[in-house]
Symmetry: C2
Subunit: 344 residues, 2 copies
DNA sequence: CTGAAAGCGCTAACAG
DNA sequence: CTGTTAGCGCTTTCAG
């Protein structure tokens, strides 16, 4: 039904090569006179000719499209602001370079190489992917470049580039701050469901190390399922921590809510620190102090790196880890005398 | 470099037709014996064969991809939650039907039909597009179905389907509420920059009608540019409105901020109502009362409609307008006696 | 049951 | 300068 290059050629009385050259040609050996070129263009517009990208894609094996994989895309409005900054950061270099961004409908579990290598995507940004050796091996075979966001780089060599933040150093800032305030019994909190999330693992490990460095060998690690309302029992426990570092903003927010409901005064009776430090932290009561990771910049870097890999730039891009900072708001304070009754 | 169907055929000692049939064939007249089929499959996997989607797309003229167009995608983290619910709502039916979602890098201004009709997209959801006759005419020629979100349907027949909300009725709810509280001098507020946004236009018109119906013929319409800090002068004006209906949540939030800074008590000295009523309204001080439009449901409906159009379902889908409701929080109250000193 | 062959629309050698 | 031609990888008639 739609007009093809061939019909334009026939109508204009020239060869299809000439039409191709005039309409999309990136010039090399084919040459067309000005006159003919104009004529062809005229015919093309009069015929309402529109180039078919599908044919071009096949021919050139290029699509100018990059894929983005992350779980729960269908639920971002409930999720942390993390995803928004991620989207913004990823999109911006892409759009500037006239690339499209495609959101994949599902985590390709069964046939990763099949979906990533079917030619439709020139590269992929994969968020928080679970670092198993198996999947790493698979991705090493991947015909298109992939960059992993928010997954700490493994020690092994790998063709995938990792963009993450200095989780451990970020947590250290939080621990240091609390420690200097006088806290000794500091806990780390995360949801059970998230146990495998790469960032979480790195943060928990960082926490344990920071505490160990200060001589605290078995600090509390709270692995909660909000559903079971673990807060109440914890609150009444004898050796309750005086400060909690939460693996994410949302966990921290949840903790704040529970504390408020239970009339536990934050920050005076309990200090809380979150992770990410987006606008969300301004909306909690009290405003939430948090470790900040520069999500937007990370995402942009990931995206730019991917683009350069697609271009096949010589200098092979290396994985990169962004530094974090601590942004203090109103959720931390020295431990109260109440809490000091039960020192760790 | 990658293995093609042809190489599999050669290696297996069969025709490419047989391979095609076995590996992707949707069965019709080509028939392959069980034995041969197994053999082919074995060879294919051993050769690491991966079908090329580009060739398939060209052949079948299908991509299972839907496009989404909206301005400022690169800035959603700053934008209203509207966009999040939109993304969620649009994505969910798509993903359930194994469609991909592609975000277009830019508003196709120059060559709309060219970008929409190049075969890569099977359909498009276009958000808040400016309703000009010219663009409507163009879209009527569009080879793929398009549904417009958050743009009120025009009176003229059109091939594009419109999904919007009952803006005027929503505003009427707000006016009615304020009126019943005793407000007579009610203003409508929007940013100058947004003057052309379809939803805004509809809401402003609705406001004017609602007020006219109550005998108020020239209510204040505040067209502000925050940059110029119009709040201060307005606040001190003699005939200042006692209540403001804002075209969006964000405008309302901004107004709330300014009021707080200026020690103007909301709701006692000024009532404020926003539009959308997302989680954002819970985070303002005071919590913002707002007209709610069911964005997620609207987006889902838009997406489902688009899918059915792509399928070519017979019953031609009609434009649809969702009802709004009023969600009261803490930003409205009867006009204060102070304000009554200067009645309208 | 099986394979040969004709394209989908476009690009790029290559020969004139 | 210009046109002919051979595909990109896959699907699908159609004849055996």
């Amino acid at each position: 039904m739609p007009i093809t290059i061939r019909e334009v050629a026939k109508e204009a009385g020239v060869s299809i090569a000439a039409v191709s050259k005039v309409l999309h040609g990136r010039g090399s050996n084919v040459r067309v006179s000005q006159e003919r070129a104009d004529h062809i263009r005229r015919i093309a517009t009069s015929l309402n000719y529109r180039p078919n990208a599908l044919a071009r894609n096949l021919r050139s094996s290029r699509t100018h499209t990059v894929g983005l994989i992350f779980e729960n895309f269908w639920n971002i409005s409930d999720g942390p602001l993390y995803y928004l900054h991620l989207l913004d950061g990823v999109a911006s270099p892409l759009f500037n370079n006239h690339y499209r961004l495609t959101i994949l409908p599902e985590m390709p579990q069964r046939d990763i190489l099949g979906t990533l290598g079917d030619g439709q995507l020139e590269g992929v940004i994969w968020c928080k992917f679970l670092e198993h050796e198996s999947i790493r091996n698979i991705l090493n075979e991947c015909p298109i470049p992939v960059v992993a966001m928010s997954t700490p780089a493994p020690h092994e060599e790998s063709r995938v580039v990792y963009v993450s933040c200095e989780n451990a150093a970020g947590i250290e800032l939080a621990v240091e701050h609390l420690w200097n305030l006088g806290h000794r019994n500091i806990a780390f909190l995360h949801e059970v469901q998230e146990s495998d999330t790469p960032d979480l693992v790195a943060r928990r490990d960082g926490f344990l190390q920071s505490m160990a460095r200060r001589g605290m060998v078995h600090p509390q690690v709270l692995s909660w399922e909000w559903h079971f309302e673990p807060f109440h029992d914890w609150r009444n426990s004898k050796d309750r921590a005086t400060a909690v570092i939460c693996w994410s903003e949302r966990s921290a927010g949840k903790l704040l809510e529970q504390a408020q409901q239970a009339n536990l005064d934050v920050p005076n009776e309990l200090s809380v620190i979150g992770f990410d430090s987006t606008q969300y932290c301004e909306t909690t009561t009290p405003r939430l102090s948090a470790v900040r990771q520069p999500i937007f910049e990370m995402a942009r870097h990931a995206s730019e790196t991917l683009l350069s890999m697609i271009r096949g730039d010589h200098r092979s891009p290396r994985s990169f880890s962004f530094p974090c900072s601590l942004e203090l708001r109103n959720s931390t304070a020295p431990p109260s005398s109440m809490s000091r009754i039960y020192p760790s």
